[in-house]
Symmetry: C2
Subunit: 155 residues, 2 copies
Amino acid sequence: MSIDRLDGRLIELLAEEPRIGILEASRRLGVARGTAQARLDRLQAGGVIKGFGPQVDPAALGYPVTAFATLEIKQGQGADVRSHLSTVPEVLELHTTTGHGDMLCRLVARSNADLQRVIDRVVGFDGIVRASTAIVMENPVPLRIIPLVKQAADD
Amino acid sequence: MSIDRLDGRLIELLAEEPRIGILEASRRLGVARGTAQARLDRLQAGGVIKGFGPQVDPAALGYPVTAFATLEIKQGQGADVRSHLSTVPEVLELHTTTGHGDMLCRLVARSNADLQRVIDRVVGFDGIVRASTAIVMENPVPLRIIPLVKQAADD
DNA sequence: GCATCTACTGGGCAACATGACTAGTGGTTT
DNA sequence: AAACCACTAGTCATGTTGCCCAGTAGATGC
């Protein structure tokens, strides 16, 4: 789905101040409420905006340590590994990537010591041959989407 | 900050149906509105809930390809590389990790061919010595937080 | 034992936002 | 020329919000 500048500005507005509501957004965008309404509906229907769920910070929940683990998987064990990892709450995200049966997963833990427990739980499974873990020290660019939205709106 | 089961259920509710509002949430939780209100305020003040921004799907915006790039950085060039990468809209996320001046970044692109352009732009910078890229094929566990919230609520 | 705190309930209020609808306008397509 | 589309500007009933209150139950401190 393609978006125009008005869509882009609407998304930006909602990203910066999600609580303003569609009426206030339409005022700031200088369009009629129905227009903003229709644009938002269209963005949601088109899947561009998947939802407005709460953004939870794992650090504030007591999980300040983030790590990425690259897993090497035994041939044919992919499905089992996936369902194993999905049962571990500290696994926030899992991707299968190009390479040799590789997966990449994002982990959080209560401390560096606790990370060991998490990793043991993650890799303590038959289908996983090898794991290498990179601990995140800094996060200079936190997950963001606005620059991409602007880019998409401009063409 | 620690959360209890009521906080956890509130977060779950809002994650599943963000548009219900605090009044409906309080009804479903079986508590007074003021209580739900106070819990939500506390969660936001404590940083557990950072916001309710729109969740934008890059794929729906025309960027269906995701990749993770591991970058090796020249000593002392970290800051320059960070600011370089933050200007690339296709860089959705950037972490510095343990290792030898390593960074991990999440990229999106319009196609596999377009990914080449993005990578060229990312690594076409002096401070970057080497880059290795893993293209995401599947995403069996999309970024999630609810299991962790439940875990945190239960202890 | 008794006072104090804190969190919760249940209620009431005015102000505001929402969804659904209408009629009218201007630009594009066929 | 007719049909179509996105937009404006407005209405309406309904629901929600933010803010207030007094009263209650459980925990903590003296």
